[in-house]
Symmetry: C2
Subunit: 282 residues, 2 copies
């Protein structure tokens, strides 16, 4: 873990589960001297100050002192690029901006080059979360032992990438660097397709069958409880890769159906073993 960076003034745009957990983790690990929450809802932000998650808040980035030097944008994925650009416009030279969006290529493309070249954006995706929502579900240990993917462009300043990497490491995360497109293909398989599959499995359950839904069903469908408002922009933002993954999934399900129709125990065993081998390798 890197040494505490007490001169970091941290701004969090969007103090929800992830933004709130970044704040809680930064405070717990002493890597920020001050934490400013930025959002639209003053009542919610006041409560987050009262709860000790943040020290102060702003509802408009243009009205504050802009005394932060490190920004984490935790707003919904379809707003992140706009929010990055708006906070970049009022930030001091040298400020590093990152985000927590689960789709990276559209965000990195839409942020593009920041105007004055002295404020740096590096995309991040901490692979941690919960089906819960809101800063009330924040956890200082949310990132511990979890992978955070950092996705610099080829022309992102190396020191900015380093700074973002060290920030996530200081919260206990294991940092992996890859380009935004490779990230998006991978999370289609590891996160977005499983989310759709969980929702589809959950939706075929009839009310009268609920009493027979045991832990297997609950585990398989847990992520289907996620907020559709969060997931629609994620799926649409990564639709090409998600569609490719869904085609692989339906092909695999077709193979199962064929083996069942033919009563082919050998083939069924192979298909189940493929899944088991892949799962057991985690």
């Amino acid at each position: 873990m890197s040494a505490p960076t007490h001169d970091r003034v941290l701004a969090i745009m969007g103090v929800g589960l992830l933004g709130g957990s970044v704040a809680a983790a930064a405070r717990a690990r002493g890597v920020a001297s001050r934490i400013i929450g930025i959002g639209r809802n003053a009542d919610r932000l006041k409560s987050a100050v009262d709860a000790g998650i943040i020290d102060a808040y702003l509802t408009d980035v243009r009205t504050g002192e802009a005394d932060w030097n490190f920004v984490v944008v935790g707003t919904p994925v379809d707003q992140i690029a706009t929010d990055v650009r708006s906070i970049a416009a009022v930030s001091r030279p040298g400020t590093i901006i990152t985000d927590v969006g689960s789709v990276k290529a559209p965000i990195c493309r839409d942020v593009g080059h920041l105007p004055d070249g002295q404020v740096h954006f590096v995309g991040s995706h901490p692979m941690a979360g919960s089906e819960k929502r809101g800063y009330e579900a924040s956890r200082a240990d949310l990132f511990v032992g979890r992978v955070t993917v950092v996705t610099p462009n080829t022309d992102t300043q190396a020191s900015a990438v380093d700074s973002v990497r060290r920030f996530w490491e200081s919260l206990g995360s294991l940092v992996v660097t890859m380009n935004a497109e490779a990230h998006d293909r991978a999370v289609a398989t590891t996160s977005h397709v499983p989310h759709v599959a969980a929702a589809a499995v959950a939706s075929i359950l009839k009310p009268e069958q609920r009493q027979l839904a045991a832990t297997g069903f609950r585990d398989t469908t847990r992520i289907a409880s996620g907020d559709p408002e969060i997931w629609v922009p994620i799926l649409l933002g990564n639709s090409a890769a998600v569609l490719a993954g869904l085609s692989e999934l339906t092909d695999s399900l077709q193979s199962f159906k064929k083996a069942l129709q033919e009563g082919d125990a050998e083939r069924l065993r192979d298909l189940l073993q493929n899944g088991k081998t892949s799962r057991d390798a985690l």
Copy 2:
């Protein structure tokens, strides 16, 4: 919870995870005065005696004293009917036999009427388990708070059904009674289709993407670690209902694909909300 039945001599055929947990639970709750394990592998059964799971063992039901009066058959689903008939043939009058198989209609059909009419079979399916295997993974609390489905035929003796119901309740289970066919359709949706879906999702993961598989992926695919040797007979034993469920699943996935292809946020939100509503109702 019913009062301890100290005069119950319990025989467990197949001392694996489920059979072993029945033994451990019965011992912990004082509902058996003696527990006899029955299986093929004398070494494993000896170890189970040493581990205190069972009191004694037999490798051939025809050679023992048959001093049991209650039997739980925990062998693989495609062997249960045969095992029920073979232990019924040597059991004393009044003996009650049940099982733990996760498919009920073929078992209840294949057991049929037991020869002398004085030994009674009532099918059971405790909705508890684990991706682990073997008596070493046994847990005395495995059935606590879990549903056990009891599936009498229309001509099963009422007192035998009561006895089986009270047995599972004495292990902490919540008993639901339904006919074997309705059970099989329900578990296709709540267990067998989710198992296939989990295996299919796991199998599309590429090795280089493993580092991005976080808790969502792990939860969704956890049951794919189940032993294919156990699952092949379950899926084949319930193939009509599983095929119907898989068709519903692929129809739902097709709707997701269409919404993504058309960039239809409203439709995508509805589909995700359907899944969420169903999951949240559990």
